[in-house]
Assembly symmetry: C3
């Protein structure tokens, strides 16, 4: 079964497709780095939509998700954006915990696996 | 390949079945929230048994597990319950790290993938 | 589809093979515990190479990776070793966050899923 790497870089690929599974790298905000958790979450979900499209799938097929917040008290703020993004009735498994991220300007990171 | 969502909610499903893989959402204690790590772990493993059954599988087929503890010094206490639960010779891959969780009353969270 | 467990212990297996997917447990340094992040990372990647070989695969087929650092400011130090290890053009999806680990002598933990 072949492995397709999407936007491969020196240390990671933005996504990896293996059979009917698509693994996305942890995504953080770029343009909205340093802005609110809601803004960062919205940008990350846009990035994820684009990567899923490049992998030949979409958000209705997300299977499992890990979310890291640098401040877990922003959980509701992140969810307010998340809940508008997910497809009703087709929500993934998910876990959200607090963690310090690689850049202080990033306060949300989302990593997921989808079917295609 | 179809995707079956178990107990889908507005932001996540308790479990997602895709082909012969079952992805559980991160599970935390409900009745024993605020109680000891051993009690919370026991309740979480009961919840997981029920979800695995609903997905048509069981704990002998767990493949990989992530555990988060709000206080990593409770590692041995969590393991004392965990080791009684797993099926000898059929233990999963696993990683356990410390993280602050969404609710202060939850001190253990367990997320796993199983075969079916 | 059969499940093969590699080095099964009382609480976890070092790796689990299911179909064409290989799940490794979170790996930490042993001989270099307490030494630099670069040294620990190098040892962990050696351990991972051995486990992947035992599972019948290799680092060119790694799909997705989670890395935890006890001090995220060591991110570049870890990456300097990581980037020499990965196969150019075949890098996996990856997320790296900060977390306290089970033993204070361990400052890096790496968990991954590979194809075989």
């Amino acid at each position: 079964m072949s492995i397709q790497r999407i936007q491969p870089g020196v240390r990671l690929s933005k996504a990896v497709v293996h059979g009917n599974l698509v693994y996305l790298a942890g995504q953080v905000a770029d343009k909205t780095a340093g802005k609110s958790v809601a803004e960062q979450t919205a940008e990350i979900l846009d990035i994820i939509d684009a990567l899923l499209a490049e992998a030949g799938t979409d958000k209705s097929k997300v299977l499992t998700v890990n979310i890291w917040l640098t401040d877990i008290t922003k959980w509701a703020e992140m969810n307010s954006v998340w809940e508008k993004w997910v497809v009703p009735g087709q929500t993934p498994a998910r876990a959200t915990v607090q963690a310090v991220l690689a850049s202080p300007a990033n306060n949300v990171e989302i990593m997921l696996t989808a079917a295609k």
